[in-house]
């Protein structure tokens, strides 16, 4: 059963994405000769003799080694594309602390990625060296070693320029891989407007070239520095293993004067640009093709299509990319296509059940509810920040061993005086948590930020527990835990707890450890909203469908779910509002750089907030006073009234 489902999903993935990937690879392969021609043209530049330069370049284009290089490069591009396909993600993984980032870099998967890219980079550099010709072409060159004037023997020497080229290629490949990881370039950002693929490519091309030029410049600079210090190692190694001599007449490159060679610098830079442009083009095509909309049928016309129709896909658990594409399609159909909306509102033929609408709305609502719960859990964690656990220990421990615990508990004590007792009602608890967070300064001299972060060193376990728990169930759970522990206060337990606190305290004072462990608040917020694109589409799709149902829904299928939808949206709205009031949460998106690197995942939460509000307004504007007849709780009714009066 499991295997069958997995097989079906793989088939679906292949069906939806297969041809797209093939087309992306084909296009990047087709653009290779163009890039190569440009490279040959630029590498042989002779500004003083333009005609000669042009004729030479065009002659070069037809030579066998250029054609061989193009073939080799197509293999490289194919490998790069395979890596793109293997490593893409629709939900970016955001390292929350520096240690996590380092962990990502030395992760075996990433190491393979880097090594493969370094090798590919070397291959590209070899091609570039061969096509550049001149002194760069061969690794071994004939030279005459003349110890004394009379016995000049022709011998093979190491061509250091060629070696420099190859190493720089490997370095750039590695840099590409590293930046690919750090900049989350495997993240597939969906475009804000639909455009034809050609237009998208044309729009990104100038950016791509500019980005490659700049990136290549930095890489070459860094490589020069590295070669200056460590260049002798590979040189010696190559010359000993391949039994090549080092031409003493030539100037060695790992010296300051050797590196100040403008022509060498230009050619290496050009080689870097060539490498990055071809690779980025492959990446760009993959991105454009993978994020293109896919048309999922709402109602299957044939029985074998049932697996591919929209409600079915939304309700099954497909690969994330398919789910994203399905939600995107839902958003588009709800906005632009009356015919397909009609299919959503239609009743099943025998039986007359609104299966399509039920499936779609259920999935959207469950997505939104999930997000609500996740946000609540995160807020609880931020408000309590290990306090749930601490209160327990606190109750028992503090009378016995004040010592170390008291020192860091100053802010918590103040909070507790607000709360009264840990057994207070969850609403009050929650409120108090927010109250004290909005004014985080409790007279303690140390920054509250550090204080709050301190215990975070390893509270991840309890954090995980909270993640799963529901809002209502969470306080119950913690109360239950308190109760069970109150019954059997084990001495070992308290001792362990005590030690743990002491170690935590000790470690949190060490600067270096904090440097690696400290969570970047912005990053952890980004991580919470990393898959918010799904929720944005669900919101837009749902609200457009509901708004359209006012006139288009003949059977009233939407009416039955309207209270649930309003409830979900209003609850989410409340929680999102509360989230943006937390400290450390900037209320404005960071400036987007407008470069090739897509940072849109950093701003998803703002998009979510805006589209949530718009979705609510879309429904209230269309339904107007009729919403008073919908059954929602009084609190939500009040909120709806504010939306109806445009006061939100």
């Amino acid at each position: 059963m499991e295997a069958a489902a997995a097989g079906r999903q793989r088939a679906l993935l292949r069906q939806v994405l297969g041809w797209r990937l093939a087309a992306a690879v084909a296009w990047s392969g087709l653009l290779l000769p163009v890039c190569t021609a440009a490279f040959v043209l630029l590498s042989g530049i002779q500004p003083l003799r333009p005609l000669r330069w042009l004729s030479d370049s065009f002659d070069d284009l037809y030579t066998s080694h250029v054609i061989f290089c193009i073939l080799l490069m197509s293999v490289v591009v194919l490998v790069i594309s395979v890596f793109n396909v293997e490593f893409y993600a629709v939900v970016p993984s955001i390292p929350c602390s520096r240690l996590a980032l380092i962990g990502k870099i030395i992760h075996p998967q990433q190491v393979i990625h880097s090594v493969a890219h370094a090798i590919m980079g070397m291959l590209v550099a070899w091609c570039a060296a061969v096509m550049t010709k001149g002194r760069f072409q061969f690794l071994a060159v004939p030279c005459t070693i003349s110890e004394s004037l009379n016995d000049a023997v022709p011998q093979m020497c190491l061509n250091e320029y060629h070696l420099f080229f190859l190493l720089s290629g490997a370095f750039m490949g590695y840099c590409y891989s590293l930046l690919y990881l750090i900049n989350n370039m495997n993240y597939l950002a969906f475009p804000i407007i639909q455009q034809y693929k050609y237009l998208r490519f044309r729009r990104s091309l100038p950016l791509l070239v500019k980005h490659s030029c700049v990136e290549s410049l930095y890489s070459v600079r860094n490589f020069c520095v590295a070669y200056y210090f460590f260049g002798y190692i590979p040189k010696m190694w190559i010359s000993t293993t391949m039994d090549l001599r080092i031409d003493s007449k030539l100037h060695p490159l790992d010296t300051l004067s050797g590196l100040l060679d403008l022509s060498l610098f230009y050619h290496v830079w050009l080689c870097g640009v060539f490498l990055l442009v071809t690779w980025y083009i492959a990446w760009l095509f993959f991105k454009i093709y993978a994020t293109e909309t896919h048309h999922f049928p709402v109602q299957p016309t044939f029985a074998e299509e049932t697996d591919q129709c929209l409600p079915k896909i939304l309700n099954s658990n497909p690969p994330l990319i398919i789910k994203f594409l399905a939600l995107q399609d839902l958003m588009l159909l709800s906005q632009y296509s009356p015919v397909r909306r009609q299919e959503v509102f239609s009743l099943s033929q025998p039986g007359g059940h609104p299966h399509n609408w039920t499936a779609i709305s259920r999935e959207c609502l469950s997505l939104l509810t999930d997000l609500t719960q996740r946000l609540i859990a995160q807020q609880e964690a931020a408000a309590a920040n290990g306090r749930a656990k601490q209160q327990v220990g606190e109750m028992k421990v503090s009378p016995q061993t004040p010592g170390a615990v008291v020192a860091e508990d100053i802010p918590f004590q103040l909070q507790r005086s607000d709360i009264g007792s840990p057994f207070s009602s969850p609403a009050l608890n929650c409120k108090a948590g927010i109250l004290d967070l909005s004014s985080p300064w409790h007279g303690s001299v140390q920054s509250p930020l550090v204080m709050r972060r301190g215990p975070k060193l390893w509270t991840s376990g309890s954090g995980l527990q909270m993640n799963g728990s529901h809002r209502e169930s969470f306080p119950v759970l913690s109360v239950a835990r308190v109760g069970s522990e109150a019954v059997q206060p084990s001495f070992i337990y308290t001792w362990l707890q005590n030690k743990q606190e002491q170690i935590k305290n000790f470690l949190s004072r060490r600067v270096l450890i904090m440097y690696f462990f400290s969570k970047h608040p912005e990053a952890s917020i980004q991580a919470v909203f990393s898959d918010a694109q799904m929720h944005i589409w669900a919101l837009e799709g749902l609200s457009h469908l509901v708004a359209a149902s006012f006139t288009e829904d003949q059977f009233g299928v939407v009416q039955t779910t309207l209270p649930a939808i309003l409830n979900t949206l209003l609850t989410l709205q409340e929680v999102v509002d509360r989230h943006f009031k937390l400290p450390h949460v900037s209320s404005k998106p960071p400036r987007s750089s407008g470069s090739l690197v897509d940072t849109s995942y950093k701003t998803l939460r703002f998009a979510l907030r805006a589209s949530l509000k718009t979705a609510l307004y879309r429904i209230t504007t269309v339904f107007g006073e009729h919403l008073n007849a919908v059954q929602v709780s009084t609190e939500h009714k009040k909120r709806l009234q504010q939306f109806l009066e445009y006061k939100e």
Binding site: I192, Q194, Y196, Y336, V339, R609, K613, Y646
Partner: protein, 565 residues
């Protein structure tokens, strides 16, 4: 030729008028068709069109508006007309005279009024570089009076000359780039020809509530709300040369302001009582090379914002919440001078400074190009269902209509416009005999507004030749119907007080009892003119309609109403 109604003698700010003495004109649709049309004739019987118009003209002629409206600015907005009879929402009709406002605050060098003092050369050069970039730096050095720099000055003056020559060459190749900012401000702002000397730069109604934003000469934006006395005044360091304001649809209070160098998006709290929202409430959307921004358009779904500049060939599509933007580039024709998003959200009109305009389809963002014969497209407006575009061309006094096939999402990437545009109204200059003397009305259309029900069209007609006496700028109001066939019938004229010219017009987006036209006059007065009517969105063939109408109108498609060219 303009035919029908005798222009009512200058109806002074009509808010006062109708509120004071008579019920506002209600226009039953059948009365229009009392006389059969004779399209062959150049001129029509002007009389029986609007019985209620006579009611307008009944009170003694030119009443100059009372002091409350355009006198002293002491009450920032006059008490609205007593809403007892019509139970209208109280709308602030206000006057913002120009002399009350300081001119645009330009950063002037503080040294000017004081003693002449020359700073060291390097200081001046640094200043020049900061203010005018490289070009300013070169100019400063060339004009320096110090000795000892002779050779440098000669060399640099050669460079400056070469630069000038090159830029003139560049300008002749790409004409839109040579249009300088000052020249742009006048013609391409919504307000029309004389950019200088008008207190109100831009005006926008909130799409859902009785609230509007006014951009003033001193680059502040004020927000007036019918239900609250607080008037927030928005000021920002970057808010210079405001050319357009636009409210975000499906939102309580987000206002986009087109400025010299950027688009500012103000997030106002509708419940706040503050009159000076801090500049922290404003999002700055800027893009290199995209300035000055002169036109804005929000998608009716509230998701995207379009901004355009006459100098930049690319139009930007903003996702405001994340500040991401996508460039919509096209080549040829220069920048964009006018933007209008159709109310159904499917299409966007973008006019260029050259004799071509484009209609974008807003799903896949492809466009159709429409060359005009004479000049650039001056203004345009969409019918509520987005199936018809009315536009005017600079230098012609006619209104064109362009119909589009009904929008369905399945035809991706097609705009679906008809082959040619047809002329629906000729507004060339005409003379009317009125009881108060001869009136001359007609000329080029400066701007147009179509009310949200699609039943009234307001047009600012500017006299072709401002020097000839008698021709003046008026607002002509037409009655329109879009389905089953397009009809456009004259309804009346609006004229301000003696020296007041209408600058901006806009319809209230959600006026329940008909249509509410807001006119911003050149004196700084803002007045509201309601039109009360029952929307003809009634079942076809209901008793309210005479059968004669149906036959008469269905016989001809897109009749030119007044005359045929």
């Amino acid at each position: 030729m303009l035919g029908p109604p005798p222009p009512p003698p200058p109806p002074p700010p009509p808010t006062q008028r109708w509120a004071r003495d008579h019920p506002p004109p209600s226009l039953p649709p059948q009365s229009v068709f009392g006389t059969p049309r004779r399209p062959s004739e150049g001129r029509y019987d002007p009389l029986p069109l609007f019985p209620q118009n006579r009611a307008w003209t009944a009170p003694p002629p030119p009443i100059h508006p009372p002091k409350v409206l355009c006198g002293t600015p002491s009450p920032p907005h006059s008490p609205p007309p007593p809403p007892s009879k019509q139970n209208l929402p109280p709308l602030p009709a206000l006057t913002l005279p120009e002399d009350g406002l300081k001119g645009p605050g330009r950063p002037e060098s503080g040294a000017q009024p004081f003693l002449h003092h020359r700073e060291a050369l390097w200081k001046r050069v640094l200043c020049a570089w900061r203010d005018g970039g490289l070009r300013g730096l070169l100019k400063e050095i060339v004009s320096a009076e110090e000795e000892g720099l002779q050779w440098a000055k000669t060399a640099l003056s050669c460079v400056v000359t070469a630069c000038r020559w090159l830029s003139s060459l560049h300008g002749s190749l790409l004409p839109h780039l040579s249009v300088r900012c000052k020249a742009l401000r006048g013609p391409f702002c919504a307000g029309g020809r004389n950019g200088a000397g008008r207190a109100i730069r831009a005006f926008a109604w909130h799409p859902h509530t009785s609230k509007f934003a006014v951009a003033l000469l001193d680059d502040s934006v004020r927000v007036y709300n019918s239900s609250s006395a607080t008037i927030p005044s928005l000021k920002h360091r970057l808010q210079r040369n405001v050319a357009a304001v636009a409210w975000k649809p499906l939102c309580a209070s987000i206002l986009a302001v087109a400025c010299q160098s950027c688009v500012l998006v103000w997030h106002l709290d509708p419940t706040s009582l503050s009159t000076r929202p801090s500049s922290g409430c404003a999002q700055v959307l800027s893009y290199p090379g995209h300035s000055p921004v002169t036109s804005l358009a929000w998608a009716p779904s509230g998701k995207l914002l379009l901004s355009a500049s006459p100098v930049d060939t690319a139009m930007l599509v903003w996702d405001v919440s994340t500040e991401n933007c996508v460039q919509l580039q096209w080549f040829g024709g220069g920048g964009v001078t006018f933007l209008a998003w159709s109310p159904d959200g499917s299409k966007v009109l973008a006019a260029t400074p050259s004799a071509v305009f484009k209609v974008w389809e807003a799903q896949m963002w492809t466009c159709e190009k429409w060359p005009t014969i004479k000049g650039r497209c001056q203004t345009g407006c969409w019918s509520p269902d987005g199936s018809r575009l009315l536009f005017t061309v600079l230098g012609e006094s006619v209104i064109y209509s362009l119909s589009f096939s009904e929008y369905r999402g399945d035809m991706q990437g097609q705009v679906g416009g008809s082959k040619t545009a047809s002329i629906v109204a000729d507004l060339s200059e005409t003379t009317f005999e009125t009881p108060y003397g001869e009136e001359r009305v007609g000329g080029a259309v400066q701007s147009m507004a179509w009310d949200p029900t699609g039943e009234r069209l307001a047009v600012i007609i500017r006299g072709q030749n401002p020097r000839t006496a008698g021709t003046q700028t008026v607002v002509a109001v037409f009655r329109t119907r879009n389905s089953p066939v397009f009809e456009l019938l004259p309804c009346g004229f609006l004229r301000g007080e003696q020296s007041a010219e209408p600058q901006l017009i806009a319809f209230h987006p959600c006026f329940q009892k008909g249509a509410l036209l807001t006119v911003c006059w050149s004196t700084g007065t803002i007045s509201h003119i309601p039109f009360f009517f029952l929307s003809t969105h009634v079942p076809y063939g209901s008793p309210g309609r005479s059968p004669a109408v149906v036959t008469a109108s269905s016989s001809v498609r897109e009749q030119p109403l007044f005359s045929e060219l």
